[in-house]
C-alpha cells in the first residue's frame, strides 16, 4: 500500500487510427494531469502496435483510446490483443468517442472497462480511472 500511494497513477491517452479529432483526447489528458496523474499523450495517427508499445514502455496503469472515425471495432480489438500477447492483462482499458450504443457490449466483452460517449463529464472519467488504477496498484506491485 505504501508504494501504491507513493507512485502516481500513469495513464496513456492514445489516438488510434487516422482521424484528427483530438479535442476530447486533449481535454481528458489535461483533466487527468490536473487530477495528479502522470499522463502520456501519444499524439495522433497511432497504430495499435505503437499504442501497445507505449503502454508497456511507460508501465501504464490505464490506457484511454479516443476514436471518432468509426474504426473502433477494428482498432480496439487489435490493441487489446497486442497487450494480451505481451502478457499485459492488468491495464485498465477505456474507450472514448462516437461509439454507437450497439457496439458497447462487444467492446466490454473484449475487456474494455468503460466506454465514454459524447457528453461524458471529465470528473466521471477521472474518478473511474482513479478507482480502476488504484485497484491495480493494490493487487499488483
Amino acid at each position: 500500500m505504501a508504494t501504491a500511494t507513493a507512485r502516481k497513477i500513469r495513464v496513456v491517452v492514445a489516438k488510434p487510427g487516422l482521424d484528427g479529432h483530438d479535442r476530447g483526447a486533449k481535454i481528458i489528458a489535461r483533466a487527468l494531469r490536473d487530477a495528479g496523474m502522470e499522463v502520456i499523450y501519444t499524439g495522433l495517427h497511432q497504430t495499435p502496435e505503437q499504442i501497445a508499445e507505449t503502454v508497456i514502455q511507460e508501465d501504464a496503469d490505464a490506457v484511454g483510446l479516443s476514436i471518432l472515425s468509426g474504426a473502433h471495432m477494428t482498432l480496439v480489438p487489435r490493441v487489446v490483443a497486442l497487450l494480451a500477447e505481451q502478457g499485459v492483462d492488468d491495464v485498465l482499458v477505456t474507450v472514448g468517442g462516437t461509439i454507437p450504443a450497439d457496439d458497447i457490449p462487444a467492446l466490454k466483452k473484449l475487456g474494455v472497462a468503460a466506454v465514454f460517449t459524447p457528453g461524458s463529464g471529465t470528473d466521471e472519467i477521472v474518478d473511474f480511472i482513479r478507482a480502476g488504477a488504484t485497484e491495480r496498484h493494490e493487487h499488483g506491485e
Binding site: G17, L18, D19, G20, H21, D22, R23, A25, K26, I27, A29, R30, A31, R33, Y41, G43, L44, H45, T47, S69, G70, A71, M73, T74, L75, T98, P100, A101, T117, P118, G119, G121, T122, D123
Partner: protein
C-alpha cells in the same frame, strides 16, 4: 454613459455575469454611446467596401445561399446515390466528404487504412473511383465542393479529368476544393508533408487555377475545424484570416497579381450556437479582409476585397443526448449564418453526434434551410441587424480581438512559425479546456447534458456502414492496378518526383499521373520520398 441600467434601483439579474460562449462579457444594455465614432464608414452599404453588411447589394433578394449538404460514405456508388437523392430534393450544390485514408493520402489497401475505409466519407483511390462518384451528374451544371487538403491537388486533377470525359473543359468547372493546409496543422490534423512543401502545393494550385480554372475556388480558407477543435469565435476568426493572408503572401511571392487570384479565394466558417456573436464574427470577417486586401496587399478590384463564405453549423454543439434537440440548435445556427450573410450553407443532421446521418435526418437538415429561406422572412432585406447597437459593438470587438491575435502571431514571425511553436494549437487547447470546465461546474448549461437531463432517450436509428465495403473497395483498387499500363504509371510517378525535387508547378505532372490512373497513395508516396512527412509534438 446614457445606458447604465445597473444604476437603476429596480435593476436585478439572475447571474452576476453574462458572457458569450467564447467568454466575452456582455453588458445589460447597448446604446449609441457604446460605439466609437465613424460607424457609418465602418458599416457601409451592402455590396460596397468594406462589405460589413454583405458582399452583394441585394443579398438574398437577388440570390439565395447555395444549400450544400456535405455527403460521403461507403463506396462511390452509395455516395453517388446520395448525391442524386439530394439534387432530387432541391439541393443546389454538391459537397464531397472523403474517408480518412483518402484525406491522409493512403490507398484503401494500405495497412493504415484497415477499418477506416468508407467510414467517415467516401473512399477515392483513383480516377476510376472519381468517375463512378460523379456518374450521371453533369459537371457543367452543378458546383462541387471537395473537402480535402493535403492531397487536394490530386483530387482536383481527378475532377478535371472527369469533366474532360464529359466534354466539360476546366474553365467551365465551378466549385471549391478546401486545400487549406495551415488549419490542418492548427486543428484538423490531416497532413502528408512538412509545412513548407505543403505550402508550395497550395501555391501551385492557386497559380494553376488562376490560369486554367476561372470559375474554381482553389482554396477554402477554413475556420470551421479550428472552432470544432474547441477554439473561441475570436480565435476562429483571427487564425482563419491570418491563414488567408499567409496564402496571399505566398501567391504574391510567386509573382501573381493579387487581383488575378484573390477573387477566387473563399472562406468557410462555423456557425456555433451563440447567435449574435456568430453574426458579429461574419460581419467582422468581411470588413477585416476587405481592408487588409486593399491596404496591405494592394488589391484594386472590389472582387478581391469581397469576402464570400460557406458556413456549416457546429458539429461540436450537437449532443448525443436527446438528439432531436439538435434540430433546434441547428436551426438557430443556420439562422445566424443567414443573418451574417453566408453564400452557402450546410446544416448538420440531428443524429451526427452518434454517427454519419441517415437519409431521413439529412432531409430534415435540408428542410431547415428551406424553411428559413421560404417561410421566415429573413431573406427579404440585406443585413437586417445592421445598425443594432449590440451587433455593431460585438462586430467592433470581434475585429479588435482578431487584430490582437494578428499582432501576437506577427511577433512570433508569422503563421507558419507560430504553428511550429504550437501557438494557435495551445490557444485552442486552453479555450477548449476552459469551456469543458464551465460545463463541469454548470456555469454553462447544455440542455440534456448537464441540465434538463432525461433518462428516457429513445434509441435513434443510425446509419450503419457495412464492413464488407472495405473488401469491395480493395478489390476495385486491385482491378484498377491490373487494368492500367504499369509502365506509364511508373514513368508518370518518376516525372512527378523529378518536378518535386525542382521548383516547377506540380499540377501538370499530377494531371499526367492521374490520367495514367496512378492512385492517390502512389502519388503521395512519391512526393513523400522527396518532401518527407510531418510529425507534431502535441500540446494539451
Amino acid at each position: 454613459m446614457a445606458t447604465e441600467p445597473r444604476a437603476r434601483p429596480e435593476f436585478k439579474q439572475r447571474d452576476a455575469e453574462f458572457s458569450t460562449i467564447s467568454g466575452r462579457e456582455i453588458d445589460p444594455l447597448y446604446g449609441p454611446d457604446d460605439l466609437e465614432p465613424g460607424l457609418e464608414e465602418r458599416v457601409g452599404e451592402p455590396g460596397e467596401y468594406p462589405f460589413t453588411r454583405g458582399p452583394y447589394p441585394s443579398m438574398y433578394r437577388g440570390k439565395l445561399w447555395t444549400m450544400r449538404q456535405f455527403a460521403g460514405f461507403g463506396t462511390v456508388e452509395e455516395t453517388n446515390e446520395r448525391f442524386h437523392y439530394l439534387l432530387d430534393h432541391g439541393q443546389t450544390g454538391l459537397s464531397t466528404a472523403f474517408d480518412m485514408p483518402t484525406l491522409m493520402g493512403y490507398d484503401s489497401d494500405h495497412q493504415r487504412s484497415l477499418g477506416e475505409v468508407g467510414r467517415e466519407g467516401v473512399a477515392v483511390d483513383s480516377l476510376d473511383d472519381m468517375e463512378q462518384l460523379f456518374a450521371g451528374i453533369p459537371l457543367g451544371g452543378v458546383t462541387t465542393s471537395m473537402t480535402i487538403n493535403a492531397p487536394a491537388a490530386i483530387l482536383l486533377a481527378y475532377y478535371v479529368l472527369v469533366g474532360e470525359s464529359q466534354g466539360v473543359p476546366p474553365e467551365r468547372l465551378g466549385g471549391t476544393i478546401q486545400t487549406d493546409i495551415l488549419k490542418e496543422y492548427i486543428a484538423q490534423k490531416e497532413w502528408c508533408f512538412p509545412i513548407e512543401p505543403a505550402m508550395r502545393l497550395v501555391t501551385d494550385m492557386i497559380e494553376w487555377c488562376t490560369e486554367k480554372m476561372p470559375r474554381w475556388h482553389p482554396v477554402s480558407i477554413s475556420g470551421y475545424h479550428i472552432r470544432e477543435a474547441g477554439s473561441t469565435a475570436q480565435q476562429e476568426l483571427a487564425f482563419t484570416l491570418k491563414d488567408g493572408f499567409t496564402y496571399v503572401e505566398r501567391a504574391l511571392e510567386r509573382g501573381l497579381d493579387v487581383d488575378d487570384f484573390a477573387p477566387r479565394l473563399s472562406f468557410f466558417f462555423n456557425a456555433h450556437v451563440d447567435f449574435f456573436e456568430e453574426i458579429a464574427k461574419y460581419r467582422a470577417a468581411r470588413r477585416i479582409w476587405a481592408r487588409e486586401l486593399r491596404d496591405t496587399y494592394g488589391a484594386k478590384r472590389e472582387e478581391s476585397m469581397r469576402l464570400r463564405f460557406h458556413t456549416q453549423t457546429a458539429g461540436v454543439s450537437l449532443t448525443a443526448q436527446q438528439p432531436l434537440n439538435n434540430i433546434v440548435r441547428t436551426s438557430l445556427e443556420a439562422m445566424a449564418a443567414v443573418l451574417g450573410g453566408t453564400q452557402s450553407l450546410h446544416t448538420n443532421s440531428y443524429d451526427e453526434a452518434l454517427a454519419l446521418p441517415t437519409e431521413e435526418a439529412v432531409r430534415v437538415a435540408l428542410r431547415t434551410q428551406q424553411i428559413i429561406a421560404s417561410e421566415s422572412g429573413v431573406t427579404a432585406t440585406a443585413d437586417p441587424l445592421g445598425g443594432s447597437w449590440f451587433v455593431e459593438k460585438l462586430t467592433d470587438e470581434m475585429e479588435a480581438a482578431a487584430y490582437g491575435y494578428f499582432q501576437r502571431i506577427d511577433e512570433l514571425g508569422g503563421m507558419v512559425e507560430a504553428i511550429r511553436r504550437n501557438f494557435p494549437q495551445r490557444e485552442i487547447a486552453d479555450a477548449s479546456f476552459t469551456y469543458q470546465q464551465e460545463l463541469n461546474e454548470r456555469k454553462r448549461i447544455v440542455v440534456g447534458v448537464n441540465d434538463f437531463v432525461s433518462d428516457e432517450d429513445e434509441p435513434t436509428p443510425i446509419l450503419k456502414i457495412d464492413p464488407a465495403l472495405e473488401r469491395k473497395q480493395v478489390d476495385r483498387l486491385a482491378a484498377t492496378r491490373a487494368r492500367r499500363d504499369g509502365a506509364a504509371v511508373a514513368s508518370a510517378l518518376a516525372e512527378l518526383k523529378r518536378v518535386a525535387a525542382g521548383e516547377g508547378n506540380l499540377m501538370p505532372p499530377i494531371v499526367v499521373a492521374a490520367r495514367a490512373r496512378a492512385t492517390e497513395g502512389e502519388m503521395i508516396a512519391a512526393l513523400q520520398e522527396v518532401f518527407g512527412t510531418y510529425t507534431e509534438s502535441p500540446v494539451f
